[in-house]
Subunit: 147 residues, 2 copies
Amino acid sequence: MISNSAQFELMSEFRAKCKKHNLKMTPQRVTIYQELVKAKDHPGCEDIFERVHKKFPDISLDTVYRTLSTFADIGVINQVEGYGEAKRYDPNTGRHHHLRCLKCNSIVDFQDTTFNNLRIPKSVEKSFVVNNIKVILEGLCKECAKK
Amino acid sequence: MISNSAQFELMSEFRAKCKKHNLKMTPQRVTIYQELVKAKDHPGCEDIFERVHKKFPDISLDTVYRTLSTFADIGVINQVEGYGEAKRYDPNTGRHHHLRCLKCNSIVDFQDTTFNNLRIPKSVEKSFVVNNIKVILEGLCKECAKK
DNA sequence: TATTATATAAGAATTATTCTTAATTGCAAG
DNA sequence: CTTGCAATTAAGAATAATTCTTATATAATA
């Protein structure tokens, strides 16, 4: 549950960030944002569309796609795994970790002892059977960092 | 570079795992597997299709999709981020981590101090600008674990 | 070598996402 | 409070990614 005051604060931050990025406050944007904040299930575009559609029958699916993507760009929300891209595969089944470039989408393997030896938190063990731990460092590869 | 003997061993393991899962050794499967082992770029189905197609002009795209998916199911290769699924979003922009159920695709947030404080390896810093560290525990949620 | 369950190619179908265009609307300036 | 315009939207077409259907071919086993 989110308290009323927390909800209010979230909304002000949202408005501030939109203003900062010259995004107009449209009812579609407000509704989509509020609907996502309510969600506990890391929904997809179609999910949000269905929920928003009840209160806002004229909204188009395209607007939901565009709006969520814009929100993620300016950092008011985050995209989570999967990323809506094509499937990709790795022949290396041994323990290793990934650097993922957010710009060119390259994925590079790396090794790290600390990451190899992470322990599963006790609290998690009670509610989840863990098969594997993935550590993904997201950012920019050397080439993309050069702008 | 993979040595000849390592390559040979990989191939025997591959054959063994296929046999164990009652998968026939077809030339398509062998070629697709070998092509993936050669790849260093975590390729997608289309990528593999293009590479295999040169040596095997009659192979169908569907076979590549099906075969890679089967291989991942029996664990000879792994699927990596993204997962070829629809985009999903998270309104929580604060630091947290995810449990991802491989069966029902649910994603649940969790907190962990150790994971919050992971350090970026020195070796990575030289070649990559890290924006954020993601820790994802993959496995089965309580409901799915009950089978 | 004959049998049979499995795997394949081909193309249709489905799903996810983006693009195009014309109409609409926030919002800043007067 | 009106006006003007750039930003935003709805609608549907277009594209991309993936899966399904079906008839044919083929590994593996007897």
